[in-house]
Amino acid sequence: MSDDPTNSHHHPRALSPAALRAKAIEALLVEKGLLASDAIDSIVEIYEKDVGPLNGAKVVARAWCDPPYKRRLLKDATAAIAELGFGGMQGEHMMVVENTPKVHNVVCCTLCSCYPWPVLGLPPVWYKSIAYRARIVREPRVVLREFGLDLPKFVEIRVWDSSAEMRYLVLPERPPGTAEMSETELASLITRDSMIGVARIEAPSRR
């Protein structure tokens, strides 16, 4: 971007005092052997790209592949999720709600933005919007249609309102045509939106 002063190779004086200070500290810490520049690169990359719904996808894929795990997950999600090494909740409990051909679950937080972050990362902006929080309870079918999810009339929609004590994760339906796929391959199909319940997981296209 041309208005970014640090992006210019030809106007070094535009570098802000803070940018200069940051560079100095980094150079000093590298010199002291306290950190490596590529370590910073990889941390930033993790936070920008990978801190997200990956953990939840692993939980869902395991549940699809391992029926006893799925039973444990539906009975005590907090413990079953901890089995895979994900946690760090601060006293909140997790509950996993299962989608079936007749029941579709969707999660919200009407009061604020409670979100199962250890499994879903950072909440999307729309999740925190007043419009979503208010309307998903009042007219879930309409809101889901706006997300591109047009559910048949016979499908019952259940809306789960998260709180400080209870966080919900949707266990989406395993799409058809995935019987041959490994757990890892399955995990790659599972989207954040499907675990919030505003989307379903599409069958993988055969090429």
Binding site: H9, R21, L29, I43, E48, V51, G88
Partner: protein, 110 residues
């Protein structure tokens, strides 16, 4: 996801929460992401606890607000990191000053 990643991901509504767009961290300038990465890297090396840094950051934010300071989130983040490093004896202010001066003539090499 590391423990610190969990902490940061969870910190959404407090004053110390990092700026985000569509749920993802937002860095307006490259140095902001460097400072963010440094704070985590030093913590992962065990030089301080994340809570120690977070408390500094919250303090920095509230005192800047009290002063009516127009500084940005990451300018305050940088100040918090610098003060914590000094207090922890990770480096000296003079060293940072010296490196900052040394950066000046080399800027064309960016």
């Amino acid at each position: 996801m590391s423990r610190i990643a969990n902490r940061i991901a969870a910190d959404i509504n407090s004053p110390a929460a990092i700026p985000r767009r569509n749920g993802e961290p937002v860095f307006r300038e490259p140095w902001e992401s460097r400072v963010f990465g440094m704070a985590i890297a030093l913590c992962e090396r065990g030089l301080y606890d994340w809570d120690e840094f977070r408390e500094r950051l919250i303090g920095e934010i509230s005192s800047a607000d009290a002063r009516g300071d127009v500084s940005t989130y990451y300018e305050r983040f940088l100040a918090a990191l610098e003060h914590l490093m000094l207090d922890k004896g990770i480096c000296l202010r003079e060293e940072i000053d010296r490196y900052a001066t040394a950066q000046l003539p080399e800027e064309d090499l960016l």
